[in-house]
Amino acid sequence: MIILLIYVLLFIGAMIAYKFVSSFFRPSSDFTSLKTVTFGDESAVRANRAASIISIIAIFFIWSAFTGSSLIPSFLHAPGPFVGKANFTYEATLPSGDKDQGTVEAIVHPLSEKPETPSLGANAEDGFANDNIVTVGAWRSKLISSKTLIDSGVEAKITSVGGKSISPGETVNVGDIDVRMTSKGSLSVEPEKGWQMEAIWLPAPEAVVGRLIEISLHGYQNVTLFENLGWSLYRVILGFIAGCIVGIPLGYAMGLNDWFRGWFDPIVEFMRPVPPLALIPLIIIWFGIWETGKISLLFLAALWIMTIAARAGVSGVKISKVHAAYSLGASKRQIMSKVIVPNSLPEIFTGARVAMGVCWGTVVAAELVAAEKGAGKMIIAASKFQNTDIVIMGIILIGIIGYGIDILMRIAENWLVPWKGKG
């Protein structure tokens, strides 16, 4: 909730600051700024690039602030877990009503350090309630058994901590630590956790970058990063190409012939809404967990999309173009190659972009289930060892590659079908 609040404040603050600053710099005179009606005019809304950059910075800022990252100065960090020394007194009561007090000192250390437990000074402890010293890692807790606090053979029970009475199940706050009493009457020392995330939940950005460098140099579990990503891409490309080789001709046939259309319509329309991930169990049963299975899955993921795209491309040809070609003396074969195919290319490219996106998502999921190498395999293996930094690194790389594929497809589209949307 705090993070959300900070995020909203950052959003609003950055917007106001940007408007304020930009009002000094740019005497707005472009066409959009001269429009008097902008609300509701979709064409007047273009992504504010400054906002995009600030948005990315904001994410890294919050990430850094809540992980105690060294990327930002420490005064911007969210309050971290308590580290240092704290002590509290407790009081134990005998059934007879006699009371005695003891002191517990807690040394809270960062998780990376492992201090020696200092020995208790030779203090003359007279009563039945003993002093104690414990070490606790930040974010962790430590149980102090009542047997170590109270002399053996004494039937005393701890009744108050830090001057406040306590009973089993209750928690008392004493300065920087919480003391909770277990159902058996022992004390659990829980230092304040603060707002920062433990590295095991969310590592700092520099830790992720460090992992990226380490893994790209030395690999993870004897597989290099390049190999992992390469295998995923290889599967996607192979499955996608197989899907195109079958799907595009099938789509053309469905667009041009009534028997094909009728025969495959129910199959295509049925398979289209089935998510490829739902096919994983069946694919594993049929083809096993290795390459054949994964590539068949990606083939199926791409197939229906490409079929439908090619069919739409053929159906979308303007009849006047076909008529024109016929009355210019073109044969059926020529109409196919000179009119129908080029006319359908923009649709096919749109389909290919969708199919590549779906395949990339599917391959990662399939590798999560079973794989020897691959981006998904890497993150699922890392998650089993709680290497959250590798998991996050993997997710970021998967996102970047997916985005990169889409950008490449768009560039190819602009280059190969410049007439898209201009017919």
Partner: protein, 265 residues
């Protein structure tokens, strides 16, 4: 006999609900070689259906189309077609569009290049030869369409409102171009239009069609096309006969439209 004969053509569309539409009934027209016929009529009178039958995209339920003593089956390169808009191939350059017909015939590149150069000169697009068609304005695109049709050297050119989507000024210029091309090439042309002025200016002969069922209502022989070949089209419009004919035909079509409306109520 050389020429185009539309022989007693009827067209009846069966509707899925069991009814039918009589789009054309007993339409007969003879066109001499090199004649320019313009066809006018209220919407729904079957003008485009008639053109599609002549082009061979539709088979008439009765009657025949006879071109140069041969019965027409299906589309063919001897009947070129110019559409309203959007029938160019946007994946080809202007030059490729114009040479489409010769290329389909397998004409050697050298010959087809000559034809293309000549035609692009005629329509005034020599400088746009290598441009993509979607980079051209609407008027230029229609010039490409005309050149593409002529490149195939058809016997008959069928024009389905070729200037319908152009602005008034461009349209006037293009009317002049159509007349020029007609005179230069001596092609037989059937021009379908919604504009009475255009039909009067360009048509040597003018046919007014009536709807429900689509049929020929009245035929005129006009002098304006011949006048317009050598004169400014705006001068032709000042001709006293021109305005009286225009009023007469407008009233005629207006009455037909009224009648349709009345029948619907």
């Amino acid at each position: 006999m050389s020429g185009l004969e539309i022989d007693n053509v009827s067209m009846r569309f069966e509707l899925p609900d069991g009814g039918h539409v009589q789009a054309l009934k007993n339409v007969s027209l003879d066109l001499k070689s090199g004649e320019l016929l313009s066809v006018l009529g209220p919407s729904g009178c079957g003008k485009t259906t008639l053109l599609n039958i002549v082009a061979g995209f539709l088979a008439p339920t009765e009657g025949n189309i006879i071109l140069n003593d041969k019965k027409v089956y299906g589309p063919g390169p001897e009947r070129g077609m110019v559409f309203q808009q959007g029938a160019l191939f946007e994946w080809m350059s202007v030059r490729k569009n114009v040479s489409f017909g010769p290329d389909m015939k397998g004409m050697p590149k050298k010959e087809s290049d000559e034809i293309v150069d000549h035609l692009l000169d005629t329509v005034g697009l020599q400088d746009f030869k290598e441009k993509a068609v979607y980079e051209l304005s609407g008027g230029m695109q229609q010039r490409v369409a005309l050149a593409r049709c002529l490149a195939n050297d058809p016997d008959v050119i069928l024009m389905d409102e070729p200037l319908g989507a152009l602005d008034a000024l461009t349209r006037e210029k293009m009317q002049g171009l159509v007349l020029k091309l007609w005179k230069e090439t001596g092609k037989t042309i059937i021009l379908i239009t919604h504009s009475v002025e255009e039909a009067l200016l360009l048509g040597e002969r003018l046919v007014v069609m009536a709807p429900r069922p689509g049929r020929i209502h009245k035929e005129y022989n006009l002098p304006f096309a011949d006048l317009g070949v050598n004169a400014d089209l705006r001068e032709v419009k000042k001709h006293p006969d021109f305005s009286s004919k225009r009023e007469e035909i407008l009233t005629m079509i207006w009455d037909m439209e009224e009648e349709i409306m009345g029948r619907q109520e």
